[in-house]
């Protein structure tokens, strides 16, 4: 990569010692350690729920540690509020941007530290300062634009400027590339380089191994709330990091038998649709999925995947085009009709679309069937049949804890909630199964479980459409990969020996040479 390190090993700027943070009975951080030097990019690696965010929230003053010490520039500190951390030079850029939508860029940057003139806020001075900072670190922003009108990339630059404006010496970036395009990621890496060259330190929270090897000096690995170790990134490779993160050797490869795809199940032709703002986002989209194959739809978030799935499942009305399942027209049909015509799906957001958290698991498991026998008769629910159905599925799909049929779905862990959804959708046994980011936020064991059932559907000669922002997942599962960019398919490659660089190129809008 040819990256130059700006780390000054003689100066320790941050030291966290034996940090413990408990929430009730749950220990989120169990004796965590961290040392960051001036000019260093220090990655924190861990699975979802490993305790990365808790650790950073302790460092930026949002949480008070149950025990342990924090040293800044070798002096011990106690934060009573985020303000204390800000004052001492620690700034956090949150994964979900903390921006006030109807405020301008300048107003957001100065919020909480407004320069004043008499009684009123001195907007001219504020604007000047923002422009100065943005030029100094090469971060282009429009100081007068409202947040709701600017791109995700610019919003992130605003977040970074916000902490710089507060005089941050150490910047914590929480999953900063989650919703960026490849070009924007490159731009971010440049910004990180500019910042460290200026003597700032960066803490990078991520679970993307490639970014760590490309950008970081050191990496601290935590697992299930515990500190595992800190390694020098130049000494290790991605596989080592993965093994340390999970705690065992991981085999991301999925076993699949060879299959010959059969007839076309889903056919999408020249589909046009608008997003929630009324802007066209699907611009003549084509796709087909056959029996016995998993088609992976790869792409950066925001290129029309969400809208495509909503159109296919009947949640969004498209402008024009053709959508058929086994020749039957399902274009702009209601969710009920698309389901009846053979489309089931594992939705992207299991708490928003997948489950009714307040409902019991048994009620969630009959979501599409509560009006059918044996679950109800003449409008009266048959509790016995509902319970029997649930108990069968809970057993079969290993939902834990056992006997949770009558417990609200909200009491289950994320992985088990996903199991409930998969149990429901796989049992529906429709011609086409759409899975959207089916493993987001799950631990490794649950990921393997989900993948197993997707492959099983394919092996049963069903069609599977996998929409995922995780390229690794797409590459390990798909028989064929289609790449979506700006509402269109920009390329199609067989899943076997697909080349990551080539896919990345297409995901950024480059067409393959034909």
């Amino acid at each position: 990569m040819g990256r130059t390190s700006h780390m000054d090993e003689s100066k320790v700027v941050i030291q966290m010692k034996d940090i413990v943070k408990k929430f009730g009975d749950f220990t989120a951080n169990d004796h965590i350690n961290l040392t960051v030097h001036k000019g260093e990019v220090h990655a924190i690696l861990g699975e979802n729920g490993a305790g990365k965010s808790t650790m950073m929230n302790v460092l930026c003053g949002l949480y008070k540690p149950t025990s342990g010490q924090i040293f800044i520039n070798e002096k011990e500190v106690h934060f009573n509020s985020p303000k204390d951390a800000i004052d001492i030079g620690i700034g956090m850029v949150h994964q979900h941007f903390m921006l006030i939508q109807p405020f301008t860029v300048t107003e957001n940057i100065i919020l909480g530290m407004e320069p004043t003139k008499g009684l009123s806020v001195d907007k001219a001075t504020a604007r000047k300062k923002v422009l100065e900072l943005s030029e100094r670190y090469g971060m282009k922003v429009d100081p007068d634009a409202k947040i709701e009108d600017i791109s995700v990339g610019m919003q992130q630059r605003v977040e970074i400027l916000k902490v710089l404006y507060r005089g941050a010496e150490t910047l914590i970036l929480d999953e900063p590339t989650a919703s960026l395009t490849p070009q924007e990621i490159e731009g971010l890496m440049e910004i990180i380089d500019n910042l460290t060259a200026d003597g700032k330190s960066i803490i990078l929270i991520t679970h993307k191994l490639k970014e760590i090897t490309a950008s970081s000096d050191n990496c601290t690995i935590i697992r299930q709330g515990k500190y595992i170790r800190t390694v020098k990134v130049s000494d290790v490779n991605e596989n080592d990091l993965a093994a340390m993160m999970v705690g065992r050797d991981v085999n991301f490869k999925v076993d699949k038998k060879d299959m010959e795809p059969g007839e076309v199940v889903l056919e999408v032709d020249d589909l046009h649709a608008k997003d929630y703002r009324g802007v066209e986002i699907l611009k003549g989209f084509h796709l087909n999925v056959r029996r016995g194959e998993i088609v992976g739809l790869a792409g950066v978030d925001g290129n029309g995947q969400t809208e495509l799935v909503e159109v296919l499942t009947g949640l969004r009305k498209a402008e024009s085009g053709k959508v058929t399942v086994l020749g039957k027209d399902v274009f702009n049909k209601s969710p009920k009709e698309t389901f009846a015509n053979g489309i089931s799906s594992i939705p992207a957001d299991r708490q928003k679309h997948g489950l009714i958290l307040e409902f019991s698991n048994e009620d969630n498991l009959i979501l599409q069937h509560f009006e059918e026998e044996p679950f109800s008769n003449h409008g009266i629910l048959n509790r016995k049949a509902i319970k029997k159905h649930a108990e069968k599925l809970i057993e079969k799909f290993d939902v834990r804890p056992r006997g949770c049929a009558e417990a609200p779905a909200g009491t289950l862990s994320g992985g088990n909630q996903q199991k409930v959804i998969i149990a429901r959708e796989v049992t529906n046994d429709k011609e086409l199964l759409i899975a959207v980011n089916p493993t987001r936020g799950l631990d490794v064991g649950a990921i393997e479980f989900v993948h197993k059932y997707l492959v099983e559907q394919r092996n049963k000669n069903r069609a599977v459409l996998l929409v995922s922002f995780e390229l690794d997942e797409i590459m390990s599962l798909s028989d064929r990969i289609e790449v979506i960019f700006d509402g269109q398919i920009t390329g199609s490659v067989p899943g076997k020996d697909a080349d990551e660089k080539e896919l990345g190129f297409m995901m950024a809008g480059g067409k393959t040479n034909e």
Binding site: I86, F103, V121
Partner: protein, 311 residues
């Protein structure tokens, strides 16, 4: 022609009497709604203010002190609402409903306890009331007397509306209160004390509502009665929504509703249109305004949502 001008003068006068209580309550409501706490208890807070104003006017004989005390009584109820909604994370609509029980209930209870089981306070001597600004300057019944010789507080209220606008859009506190109503988590991460800002705003909303209620008993009429506050609190909320949650918008809406009220009190004398039908106008107008404009109005994003401080 002369008659027309005289009627116009009377209408303006009636509008200037009906608007201040609405506007005071609406300005208070702006603070509360914009910082993210729904306050439908405004009506109850006004009633408490109206009662306190009357009692203090009778006991101290000084309209201004009575007016201030009424504000403080409203602020006390604001504090209750703030505590229940902000610190205890209660459902804000339900808490407001409870305030609407407590306010009038307590006012009437105390009234009966203090004044020999009567639900009205005794009438006040005019000297105890809030003063008019140009008393005796213009001839009685003349156009200018009707238009300019109104209660001094009416003038103050419009100045206050301007002050609120300035606070909202020009000061640090204003930026914080608007930000807290949009994205409290973001504010917290920047070191802004969300609870403090919200407490301040909700207590202010009670203070203003209390003042609004007291205007009715200390200026419009001269005593407290069970029916002094009938829906003004809700009209104030309507005005805030109609005015897109901004002090300047709420001011315009209150003037419009005040005008409706002015027409009502004039029409009541002429008996042409039922005052009951005219009384409906603010509510119907609000519904129509919501239907026509709500898509474009920006409701504070965190309004009514419970925010829990990090630990």
């Amino acid at each position: 022609m002369n008659g027309l001008i005289k009627d116009l003068g009377l209408l303006i006068n009636a509008t200037l009497i009906a608007t201040p209580p609405l506007l005071l309550a609406a300005l208070g409501s702006c603070f509360s709604e914009r910082c993210g706490v729904v306050n439908i208890g405004i009506e109850g807070m006004m009633t408490i203010g109206a009662f306190t104003g009357a009692v203090m006017g009778l006991t101290t004989g000084n309209g201004w002190i009575a007016f201030l005390c009424a504000g403080l009584a409203g602020a006390l109820f604001g504090l209750i609402h703030a505590f229940v909604c902000i610190s205890c994370h209660a459902d804000q609509t339900i808490a407001g409903t409870a305030i609407n029980f407590l306010g009038p209930g307590l006012a009437l209870f105390l009234c009966k306890a203090m004044y020999n089981n009567s639900s009205d306070t005794p009438a006040m001597d005019p000297s105890c009331k809030l003063p008019k600004l140009f008393e005796g300057v213009f001839p009685t019944g003349s156009f200018w007397n009707n238009v300019l010789n109104v209660y001094a507080v009416a003038y103050l209220v419009f100045i206050l509306a301007f002050v609120c606008w300035f606070v909202f859009y020009k000061t640090k506190f204003g930026a914080h209160l608007r930000a807290v109503g949009e994205h409290p988590e973001a504010c917290e991460s920047l070191g802004i004390d969300v609870y403090k800002v919200r407490y301040t705003c909700v207590i202010l909303s009670g203070f203003f509502a209390g003042l609004g209620g007291a205007f009715v008993t200390l200026a419009t009429i001269n005593q407290f009665r069970p029916s002094v506050i009938v829906g003004q609190g809700f009209i104030a909320i309507a005005a805030v929504i109609f005015g897109k949650f901004s002090p300047e918008g709420a001011t315009k809406a209150c003037l419009l509703f005040g005008l409706c009220s002015g027409i009502k009190s004039l029409a009541a004398q002429s008996n042409v249109v039922s005052p009951n039908l005219i009384s409906m106008i603010p509510y119907v107008v609000t519904i129509i305004a919501l239907v026509l404009f709500v898509g474009k109005a920006h409701t504070p994003a965190a309004n009514g949502k419970i925010f829990v401080k990090s630990k």
